[in-house]
Symmetry: C2
Subunit: 141 residues, 2 copies
């Protein structure tokens, strides 16, 4: 394994930067969030506040689970409930300067992890795909 | 890196075996498939035929995209359309005997890959998480 290049990789060099990441806002109705998720094709996306600070992650499952009634999906609730009522805020984050091993450990249990600066502003996301692609380059035994 | 153990790992030793994998059948209505996906929490699951042969993969996005009309999600179509109308059959598979590097390469572009035998019967799935967990064990530089 070519050890050195893996050690030089940081979250910043691996991440998809913020302007290329689909996201939703805390005060959006769930209907808007579900449309963004279906049109982009992503399972989950970051949630930001108005000043572009990271607040958490929202996915299709959180939304569908919230509107699933006893017998059917109650679609009318999509305009009544807001993103901030279902957002998952227990999500670990990375800093731009974190090394490759920290990135690898963080994506074991999450399909992507958000990169956030000291003040909480959103920098981008590190995905499992980016980590796996790097590992594939270095594992030719 | 402890090379030897990675080389001895096969798809069979990494996979979640078929009895623990949520799946749907080709002739199910989309409504049933969406309920299985929401109740299990999974983004996508394998699709099998009546004799337990692998047919493809179906996810929440394929279903929601199919029922998204011009102005709203047309939920009544969930009972009209069947899984075999939307299933993605262009999915690469693994064999139980495939080595670790084949598993790593296969999950770069797919969150999970199905393990199938010579006659097409479904054996289980290899997930990105399982591959990442193994890599984390061996990459302590
Ligand atoms: N438009 C597309 N083109 C090509 N391949 C696509 C794709 N959409 C999804 N995939 C493939 O499917 C994997 C799972 O996507 P998912 O949407 O469940 O899960 C995604 C999604 O929730 C999020 N994500 C990725 N890129 C994003 C972006 N630009 N904006 C917002 N969220 C993103 O990160 C998760 C992991 O992404 P990762 O790339 O590791 O893994 C992706 C990628 O391998
Ligand atoms: N009930 C649960 N408990 C703990 N963690 C959970 C979980 N559900 C999801 N996760 C976490 O979220 C990741 C993405 O799940 P997702 O459902 O999008 O994507 C999943 C799902 O589509 C499928 N999958 C995983 N296990 C499955 C099973 N037993 N039956 C059917 N499909 C499964 O494989 C994909 C990748 O799975 P992976 O484990 O790599 O990655 C999982 C895992 O890290």
């Amino acid at each position: 394994i070519k050890e050195l290049p893996l050690l030089e990789i940081t979250a910043e060099s691996l991440m998809i930067s913020s302007e290329k990441v689909a996201h939703v806002q805390m005060n959006n109705p769930l209907e808007h969030a579900l449309l963004i998720l279906v049109k982009s094709g992503y399972s989950a996306v970051p949630v930001l506040d108005i000043s572009y600070k990271f607040q958490g992650v929202i996915g299709k499952n959180l939304i569908l689970d919230k509107i699933l009634g006893l017998e059917r999906f109650e679609m009318e609730r999509l305009s009544e409930v807001r993103v901030n009522d279902v957002v998952n805020q227990e999500i670990p984050c990375l800093k731009k300067s974190d090394n490759f091993l920290s990135c690898l450990k963080s994506v074991i249990d999450y399909p992507f992890v958000c990169v956030v600066d000291q003040e909480g502003y959103f920098d981008g996301i590190v995905t499992r795909r980016a980590v796996l692609k790097q590992l594939n380059k270095y594992i030719h035994v």
